[in-house]
Symmetry: C2
Amino acid sequence: MISVDEARTRILSSLRPTGPEIVPLAEAWNRITAAPIHARLTQPPRDVSAMDGYAVVATDAILGATLHVVGSAPAGHPWDGTLQKGNALRLFTGSILPDGADAVVIQENTSRDGESVTITEAATSGRHIRRAGQDFAAGDMLLPTCKRLNARDIGLAAAANHPWMTVHRRPRIAILATGDEIAMPGEPIPAGSIVSSNSHALAALVRAAGGDPVVLPVVADDRAALMAVADAIAGMDMLVTTGGASVGEHDLVQEALGARGLKIDFWQIAMRPGKPLMFGQLGPVAMLGLPGNPVSSLVCAILFLVPAIAVLLGQPPAPPPTVQAKLGAPVAANDHRADHLRAKLATGADGGPIVMPFARQDSAMLRVMAQADALVLRGPHAPALVAGDMVEIIRLDALGL
Amino acid sequence: MISVDEARTRILSSLRPTGPEIVPLAEAWNRITAAPIHARLTQPPRDVSAMDGYAVVATDAILGATLHVVGSAPAGHPWDGTLQKGNALRLFTGSILPDGADAVVIQENTSRDGESVTITEAATSGRHIRRAGQDFAAGDMLLPTCKRLNARDIGLAAAANHPWMTVHRRPRIAILATGDEIAMPGEPIPAGSIVSSNSHALAALVRAAGGDPVVLPVVADDRAALMAVADAIAGMDMLVTTGGASVGEHDLVQEALGARGLKIDFWQIAMRPGKPLMFGQLGPVAMLGLPGNPVSSLVCAILFLVPAIAVLLGQPPAPPPTVQAKLGAPVAANDHRADHLRAKLATGADGGPIVMPFARQDSAMLRVMAQADALVLRGPHAPALVAGDMVEIIRLDALGL
């Protein structure tokens, strides 16, 4: 048996990021940059007013001075001249400061009368001015490569004048459920059959991770039909299979695709819930064989498939992110297999997470898996713990998993 | 001036959830249920084997007994007869237990020879059997209404035989940037103009919150063009405007749309960054007027628009979720306006979040806003705090905001 970490390292080290594609700014949210974004302009482009008020020559705009208002320069309508002593220019937030001016007197510190304005608090040189390039200068690197773009990043890219973004192409993940007993939701369900849940849960999980799921039709336990899958996955970045339990987990899949050139590793992983995991290469396509049990399939997908999609999206190889949480109930000592306890989360008095493993950890209970907020990681031979002890958890709630 | 909480309460209390729509299971990830999901079948549908092995009559399958193997029932191929004493049926994980059998002997505790199997560890009645309905029974409520569907929920709905899901229609949020100075990214940028960043950041934020953004063309500071917006928003759930700063924040928008029947509240909110907020009703469409400053616009959108979209999606009215974090640097006492400090997050030795406000909190710096992981909430007149004190934060990193 190999460890979870070793299996993950072997999977992730075999994968290469997808290539770049250009998408419009409006489609770039939550995508991963495949190139850094540099500013195409300077922001602000010139010295601008930070407030509504008047551009003045500071030495001129002393307390009680009355200045001639030569014009008004609302944002978008800059004033072309050079401001002379004795004059003021009406400005608004964001208006370009005219040549000759070196201060802004805010509206509240003036008294306007027709084309004259009287200064009621003296100007200070440089005051209420946002300097050119204060936010960023043309050429500045604003967003690094391999960054997941949030709403603020989109705003920043727009402000830097990018209508298009270069992002990693979404990895195409083919999902194949196999087994004579699998029926599609809504189809007639013969006695002894079960409804396909793995494919649909995995498709949603692929989407949550930033991939593009391609759900293949269910293939019965039939050698010829399985062999044909090798043709169906042209252009995919990865093939994920699930099931085949009825004739020995993975055996038929392995045998049929082996005849089509599948180079495979077949591992017993020291984990629970989980079963033997298959990983290999079918021509240019990486293949991950998940257990048929729905809970095992989801846990293995969280541990192996989500990090694999991250690598395909250009992220560094890494396990799923974990946080520390306080146990709300005791847990027993663990055996030699890493365990992943399904658990609810609550918030403690100190604001930190409190984690409460479900009493029933049966891997056949998909409903309990759906109700979980987190997986508690229990390493091989981890000692018994009491309520209040800290444990490492994978949060599922915020990730859409 | 009114408080952030009061403004939010007024906005949220005026909104009603969108109606339901039916989407295929494959499109239901991250959508919000508009009806509970009940199980359409019982899972497992019958008592099934939890392991690979043999179905037996427990009193019969004592240590050393040799039984006649009457057949094999792989998953998907149930065996029709009633198991008699002296017989065994080959089963696999998930196979239906035949009538007459009351135990499973696992494969490892047997020795097979042709059509005979010898029991090497006695059977126990009820052992290795998953009972009908152990996961769920037909009619059980599996997912409540108003639940955001994660990948596991999709799997559970599939397993319960739902090919379609009833979810809240995505709220359509029209986004309008106004101002003579606004240019679209990639278009020619005249002197004194700035590139529209608010619309695009807001569109991404609407998407992150589960809404459907409709970005309207930029409208210059022109009364007739603004009045025409009243026609452009037919069928929208909300209109969000931003800008108009050049001629007095919101004034022209308010005046032009007022002529088209806009009923409006116009508030000074005791917050920073932020400016006057407009909220009202233009016929059946709620209208939210955000500041033109990009950072203020984003902060106000996080505080008011994201919770508004949640209410439109059927969630209970609530502020954005906050967590407690430890300050990594001192902060000064606050004045009468609630402040929202842009900050970086790190992880402390105890696993808890440590928050480090940026030294420069200038609301003109979009780049700093994009680099922030969190907003530190500083209430009116909050006292000065030192490093190590706890503060309430809104995490931006995980929300795609």
